[in-house]
Amino acid sequence: MDCYTANWNPLGDSAFYRKYELYSMDWDLKEELRDCLVAAAPYGGPIALLRNPWRKEKAASVRPVLEIYSASGLPLASLLWKSGPVVSLGWSAEEELLCVQEDGVVLVYGLHGDFRRHFSMGNEVLQNRVLDARIFHTEFGSGVAILTGAHRFTLSANVGDLKLRRMPEVPGLQSAPSCWTTLCQDRVAHILLAVGPDLYLLDHAACSAVTPPGLAPGVSSFLQMAVSFTYRHLALFTDTGYIWMGTASLKEKLCEFNCNIRAPPKQMVWCSRPRSKERAVVVAWERRLMVVGDAPESIQFVLDEDSYLVPELDGVRIFSHSTHEFLHEVPVASEEIFKIASMAPGALLLEAQKEYEKESQKADEYLREIQELGQLTQAVQQCIEAAGHEHRPDMQKSLLRAASFGKCFLDRFPPDSFVRMCQDLRVLNAIRDYHIGIPLTYSQYKQLTIQVLLDRLVLRRLYPLAIQICEYLRLPEVQGVSRILAHWACYKVQQKDVSDEDVARAINQKLGDTPGVSYSDIAARAYGCGRTELAIKLLEYEPRSGEQVPLLLKMKRSKLALSKAIESGDTDLVFTVLLHLKNELNRGDFFMTLRNQPMALSLYRQFCKHQELETLKDLYNQDDNHQELGSFHIRASYAAEERIEGRVAALQSAADAFYKAKNEFAAKATEDQMRLLRLQRRLEDELGGHFVDLSLHDTVTTLVLGGHSKRAEQLARDFRIPDKRLWWLKLTALADLEDWEELEKFSKSKKSPIGYLPFVEICMKQHNKYEAKKYASRVGPEQKVKALLLVGDVAQAADVAIEHRNEAELTLVLSHCTGATDAATADKIQRARAQAQKK
């Protein structure tokens, strides 16, 4: 393995640094990097270049070109810069390119050079122009810091939610600071700037002078400063060629180094990683690259070409005209395994596996050695971890093979870490491919998360790869495939050269009923691009009416919205559309629309019944719904009118409507009601008392009770009350009055149409047995027994029952035989029964 560590460079005693190639770049750069504004996004992000014609005195007649490349140098966009002079470029966390113009306007472009939006950094910036600008990242998002021509700073900590903050003045500042940077402490962005030998810290309230502890004497100027990826550390390069490294809080010094080069470096960036052994800074000059840390010696590289440094979470990317490299501190697991003469368990396991493949018995020896020390689990873990840090797939494989080999000798090694590493590496190798060009390390990938990685693939329109990854990792559809397809569809609707039909069909073919896809979101995007027809077509595929309807209303397709709302069955949605339509259409059109939608019509009728009675009437009129109109007038006759004439008029309208509805019965009944109402009015006038709104039956009863028999008779005749009911009525009324004499007279007026049992019953109800008995004798044979029992004449009831030879009657009488008094009767019945059975 000697050759494997050939590119390892020790820094001090504790750490090694290695630099390896990510890509050989075959981008066709027309300009030298040094002539360009350069911005490379972290996490293996894209690179933007803009030849800077404004820096030189040359006539700016030639418009520069803004070019965007993937990290592997594939062109993503190229556009002619037509706006104002640009001072600085930078990428936001969402991989949007921010171009800060001299006038303080920031133009925002997408990865593919698509213009997104712009915003201004304020009037003060506009007036004093931008001298320098930085794009920085915090946990809240991406910020912009501006140094103006008046040597004042303005910043916004999050361009997504633009709030401009003008930083306090630095007292006595006459010229631009020699260098400056943004810091982020306690979730607040600060600015650290160097003026001559002094350092100042600006927070939003004050400007304070600061001094780095342990700074070597003799500094008259700071040439460069660098803050680490996580804002934890700060490095200062002085005009004496001295580098101070410490915490960003300026409370602690980590180390210092004297490189004896007084020339200002082109770039200085931190090169560390989470849990680094060493804190190191990479300094670049024109042709020299130096890694310095807490060690007397530095590591030096020669730069053959004009190069650019991109700090990352766990190292530094360095790209030039022809290559793209990664420089980092060798991770612990790799170091343990590959360090020359390492006896670490992982190293032994890797050896064992190799011997095993050679079918050599040494494999067993190595393995035994690890097992004897009880370090096999650790060995497997080391190999898995180290595989993650390898860039070359062959090395990854050989380490994973070793891990897999070692696993065989372990009883219960949980397989997850191994499986997950295999999966992660597959994903990483796929995206590192130069066609994709996202050279993420394992640590960066874990920090970024798979969701964000998928978003970035989507941003690059690498939909198939994103979907393959989702499927491979078996991500839930809603988080994975569906989301990506939805993004794809949103991109698709922007392709204006494709017809609405084709786009809609293509989208539906791909998306189908994929769970979690929101067709309405896609439709909203289409509508946003001015493609209303396409939006409507897409909404057809949206299963959720709750989503369809508001967008349709927004697009002024209210009638379509109505039918969608109706389809959903959600009545609230229907009402919402209806009220919308009511305001949008004139009354006639609105009614016509309703007419074609019976469900909506009935709902609207219900609404009107409670809220707008007059409209209800209009609706019935429009539909020639005379039956309902009739009912409407009936209700109206009770509702408002107090005067009889008003009520009668309403009833007349009702009757007319009923006639039109060919409901003769209702019409006649209503006419009867009018007649009765008038009559009741008259009765009140003539007799006093209360009659209006009594039923006909109760009116007659009241008359009988009041002793107005004649009038009662007349009324009964006029309204053709059936005889039977009239008899019941009179019977009940007279019994209530306990007018027994009149009752008897009435009973004899003619043959009772209801028989005489009711007379018996009603007298008994009034506890008048004497009167009851009178009628009992007149009760017909079928009910005789019942009548006799009612008046308590059990013996006679028995006789009648025996005479009738009716078993049911006999049983009934028997059940009334109680106590000694009826014993004889009971006997008699039993005998009669016995006799009947003999026959």
């Binding site: 559809e477 809603v478 569906s482 009923d513 769970p515 979690g516 299963p543 959720r544 009416s545 389809e567 959903s568 069955g569 959600d570 009545t571 609230d572 949605l573 009402f575 919402t576 009220l579 019976p598 469900m599 009935s602 709902l603 009728r605 219900q606 409670h610 809220q611 039956q627 009912s631 009936i634 209700r635 006759s637 009770y638 509702a639 019965f665 209702a666 009944a669 209503t670 009867d672 009601q673 009765l676 709104d693 009594l694 039923s695 006909l696 039956h697 109760d698 309204f719 009350i721 059936p722 039977k724 009911r725 019941w728 009525l729 009940t732 209801i754």
Partner: protein
């Protein structure tokens, strides 16, 4: 835990706990002391899922009934309105909010819509200028409330009237939502059967809603094998008859004074109708009831029963009854009579054909030999009459509806079957002798007698099916007719 909900095949406590959790979560959203202002209609249903102690645990200190003008004084941080989404209630709420004393301590207002948020209501609140006063506007999907181990009700008083009289499907929508909630907790129901227009609509809505939810695949093993959706208007007869089970009787005679004699006469008349005796003539018992001005509901119930048992009355007979009723009880009842006609309870016979005997015979609705002590058939619940609705359920489970196609065609509305495909992992492999579980949903109400009949079927040893019953409302003939009555003054 509510023990009475967990004894059945399906543990309805799961549903109760789910709705209680949702309520607690909402209450906790409104931090600090609270007063609840109740839409009075909701207190009953809420009582079944959350006692005052639960509310108290979540800092509910006061409870008021929703009414106009100013809210009563209460030293609380939050005022929460628990309301149905109805416009008239929004007006009252707005009045409450607007008359709030500005000088007093500021209180936070919230609204909890039960069972659904409504754009319409929010628009009304907006128009009244109070929408912004509410910090939380949430919905509480209390659709199906567990009553018993095998019984769920939406307690929606007006459901039948809305569906069949006013063509308002709101309660059907809620029913479909309720069924979706149920499926979320108890798994997708693989088969849906139905009979009736409303049943068809609910099934359509469910299928639609399922498409809306496709993202979250239900991975719960299905507890129910079938869902049977039944329109109340497929069986208008059953609720009209007097229920003769213990619970049913209590329900029937509660608050009604009746002599036993009269009760007997009434049963005789009912049984004659149901067994098909003299259904085409004016019935003298009904005549006498009218003449003696017995309660109108009782009369209407009998007339409707006769009409249903005769597939409508002869025009002459119908007009006679109507005239008698109008003259005796007042002409205003013309509206009620019209309502009864509109829902099909009262109607003229069309085509001069009485289909009831065919239905009665095919479905064996009338059994002459009933053993009420040791029943062998569901007809014991009406002393001879087997409820049509339950017979349909019984025949569906065995031998299947194909055997009664002809009768199904006579009964109103379509009958249908839908399958909801399950992933293979969730398909049930029935053990031999293991009963199916059918959820039967009565759209428009169910009576205690029908519940008793279904419970009887569940208990049959060789029945093969156990039932869980859901409904829009627990009802009886009287409450049903009353809901259709219209009193203009």
């Amino acid at each position: 835990m509510a023990a009475h909900l967990s004894y059945g095949r399906v543990n309805l406590n799961v549903l109760r706990e789910a709705v209680r959790r949702e309520l607690r979560e909402f209450l906790d959203k409104c931090a600090g002391s609270k007063a609840i202002v109740w839409d009075e209609y909701l207190t009953g249903p809420f009582g079944l899922i959350a006692q005052y102690s639960l509310l108290k645990e979540h800092e509910v200190e006061k409870m008021f009934t929703l009414k106009g003008s100013r809210l009563p004084a209460a030293d609380v941080k939050n005022i929460i309105f628990f309301v149905r989404p109805r416009l008239e209630l929004m007006d009252i709420i707005a009045e409450n909010v607007l008359s709030e004393d500005r000088r007093g301590p500021t209180r936070d207002f919230h609204i909890l819509f039960v069972p659904r948020r409504s754009l319409l209501c929010e628009q009304r609140l907006k128009d009244l200028g109070v929408l912004g006063s509410f910090i939380h506007r949430d919905e509480y999907s209390l659709d199906l409330i567990p009553f018993d181990g095998d019984l769920l009700s939406m307690e929606s008083e007006g459901a039948f009237k809305e569906c069949y009289l006013e063509s308002d499907q709101t309660s059907l929508y809620h029913a479909a939502k309720g069924l979706m909630t149920l499926q979320a907790l108890y798994g997708t129901i693989p088969q849906i059967f139905g009979k009736g227009e409303c049943a068809r609509q609910v099934a359509n809505m469910m299928i639609r809603m399922k498409r809306e939810f496709t993202g979250s695949q239900n991975s719960i093993f299905p507890v129910f094998d079938n869902l049977l959706l039944l329109d109340r208007n497929v069986d208008l007869l059953t609720p009209l008859a007097t229920q003769l089970t213990y619970e049913g009787l209590i329900d029937e005679i509660y608050g009604i004074q009746n002599t036993s004699e009269d009760f007997f006469d009434k049963l005789t008349a009912e049984q004659e109708f149901m067994s098909g005796v003299d259904t085409d003539k004016v019935n003298s018992y009904i005549e006498d009831c009218i003449a003696q001005k017995h309660p109108l509901i009782k009369v209407l119930r009998l007339v409707c029963l006769q009409s249903v048992c005769n597939s409508g009355l002869k025009q002459k007979v119908l007009d006679y009854y109507k005239r008698e009723i109008l003259q005796t009880y007042g002409y205003e009842h013309i509206l009620t009579l019209y309502n009864l006609e509109k829902v099909g309870l009262l109607k003229p016979q069309t085509g001069g054909r009485n289909n009831y005997p065919t239905i009665r015979k095919t479905l064996r609705l009338w059994m002459d030999d009933v053993n009420e002590q040791n029943p062998t058939d569901i007809s014991y619940v009406y002393s001879g009459y087997a409820p049509l609705s339950v017979r349909l359920a019984q025949l569906l489970s065995r031998p299947g509806w194909r055997s009664i196609e002809e009768v199904l065609r006579i009964l109103p509305g379509p009958h249908f079957e839908e399958r909801q495909p399950l992933p293979t992992g969730l398909q049930k492999k029935r053990q031999p002798g293991e009963n199916r579980v059918t959820l039967i949903f009565f759209l428009g109400g169910v009576t205690f007698a029908e519940i008793a009949a279904l419970r009887f079927l569940s208990q049959l040893e060789d029945g093969g099916t156990e039932y869980v019953i859901a409904t829009t409302k627990l009802m009886n003939g009287a409450s049903w007719i009353e809901s259709l009555m219209e009193k203009p003054f």
